[in-house]
């Protein structure tokens, strides 16, 4: 178990180190998230739709789309110079590789969300006081689920032509449940509804995470055997 975690953390640290040194992907994903927020503001008919009514959907579409952009990066890194082959030659479990890639992707998507959330508050005039904890919890749970599936799919789509197109095509149907639940929960949090109304959505998100992280851990090794 200790070795498993050690390998996973080493893989994650490697990915994050590469990212820290180049910063290209992170900066691009951030810019993408901010641009999405800006476009939504102009795509709204100010006379008929208030900013707050649209806010939860905007937040989640931004998170979902920047998530896909961020995940695309995950394995392109490994394709260059056949880095993945090197990684696979190491005598480590494929499950640990998955956890490592997953953790790195999670950190990456969380970083984008951490920057996008305050900007969202500013751009959309949302009052987060009292709801911040809840929104962060929802964001963590929803992101944890779809990044797991996204990590598996990114490992596959990187081997295809049109990888950038293939990943959203496969992943978006899988994002539908967590993103829908997250929008519902966020809308209730922002309008100050009691916690009992949100608990159900949180539980669903938790269930999704549990099921899909397990499923991904189980299927990932079969993507990696050569």
């Amino acid at each position: 178990m200790g070795e498993f975690l050690g390998v996973a953390l080493a893989v994650a640290a490697k990915d994050l180190r590469v990212e820290r040194r180049s910063k290209t992907a992170l900066v691009s994903a951030l810019a993408f998230a901010v641009l999405t927020l800006v476009i939504f503001n102009f795509a709204r008919d100010a006379a008929s739709l208030s900013r707050t009514a649209m806010a939860p959907s905007v937040l989640w579409i931004t998170f979902a789309f920047s998530g896909v952009i961020a995940l695309n990066r995950s394995f392109t890194l490994e394709r260059e110079n056949a880095a993945l082959d090197g990684l696979l030659m190491a005598p480590v479990s494929r499950g640990a590789l998955f956890v490592g890639k997953y953790l790195a992707n999670l950190a990456f998507v969380f970083a984008v969300e951490t920057v996008a959330l305050p900007l969202f508050v500013v751009f959309f005039g949302v009052d987060l006081r009292g709801a911040a904890g809840g929104v962060i919890l929802v964001a963590v749970l929803a992101t944890a689920g779809f990044v797991a599936v996204g990590t598996v799919f990114a490992a596959m789509t990187v081997r295809t032509r049109f990888a950038e197109l293939m990943l959203p095509l496969l992943l978006l149907p899988f994002m539908l449940p967590p993103v829908t639940w997250a929008v519902q929960a966020t809308a209730r949090l922002l309008s100050g509804r009691p916690a009992s109304e949100i608990a159900g959505w949180i539980r669903l998100l938790g269930l999704y995470d549990l099921v899909f992280i397990t499923a991904c851990l189980l299927v990932f090794p079969s993507l990696m055997d050569e």
Binding site: V152, T160, M166, L169, P173, W181, S222
Partner: protein, 238 residues
């Protein structure tokens, strides 16, 4: 090669089943239009029910089969399972298109709208996109062994996703007719209508099996993409 002879035999048996299914389908049109009473409130558009429900049934059945075959493939690594999953997904995609086109044709006169973001409609649309994604991924991978493994993973995860999509859409209100046959109490359908529906379900299932068998037999085991590899030499150059 004995394999190829066997495949051809499966394809020709599939063709027979398709012929039987098509004749039965013509009979069902006759049965539905001529010998089944017109529903009092919906009128003639209700007749589409005898095509729509069996198409949805076939699409769902195909989807489950893809998921199961995918799971078995990752376990046994038998290329025939992959070939079966591919055939089933292609046929399932076709049935989901029938389901998605007959639905709005019924919805317009009865609901007054082509499309409604209703629970079941959204669910079937997602099903369609899963089939589409599965096929697109296959088309974009050239190595047969890799393609089999990767698409099996999508097939399994898709099957895991289905209950979640189901759950999501049922938490929202639905305008889709509630189940009238498969429900805890007695079917609330008059016998003449139930008879036509059951006959149609049988005909569609025969067609589903026939199409799957034919496609399974005609694919030559190494060309399981969507034909995108054609001309690259590796699939047809033997």
């Amino acid at each position: 090669m004995p394999d190829r002879v066997a495949a051809r035999r499966i394809a020709s048996r599939g063709l027979v089943l398709i012929a039987v299914g098509l004749v039965a389908l013509a009979g069902i049109y006759l049965l539905a239009l001529r010998f089944t009473p017109v529903e009092r409130f919906q009128g003639l558009p209700q007749k589409i029910f005898y095509v729509h429900v069996p198409a949805a049934w076939s699409a769902l059945l195909a989807f489950s089969l893809v998921g199961i075959a995918s799971g078995l493939y990752l376990w046994l690594r038998d290329p025939r399972l992959d070939r079966f999953a591919e055939s089933t997904a292609s046929v399932g995609l076709m049935f989901s298109i029938i389901m998605l086109t007959t639905g709005p044709l019924w919805g317009k006169p009865v609901w007054g709208t082509w499309w409604e973001w209703d629970a079941r409609l959204t669910f079937t649309l997602i099903l369609f996109f899963l089939f589409l994604g599965y096929r697109a991924l296959r088309g974009a991978l050239a190595d047969p062994e890799e393609r089999a493994r990767f698409s099996a993973v999508v097939g399994i995860l898709g099957l895991v996703l289905v209950p979640f999509v189901h759950l999501t859409v049922y938490l929202f209100r639905t305008v889709h007719p509630q189940p009238i046959v498969l429900k805890p109490s007695e079917p609330s359908l008059p016998w003449e209508m139930l008879r036509t529906l059951l006959a149609s379900l049988a005909a569609f299932t025969v067609l589903l099996v026939g199409f799957i068998m034919t496609r399974y037999g005609l694919g030559d085991g190494e060309n399981l993409g969507n034909g995108e590899d054609r001309g690259k030499g590796e699939a047809y150059g033997r």
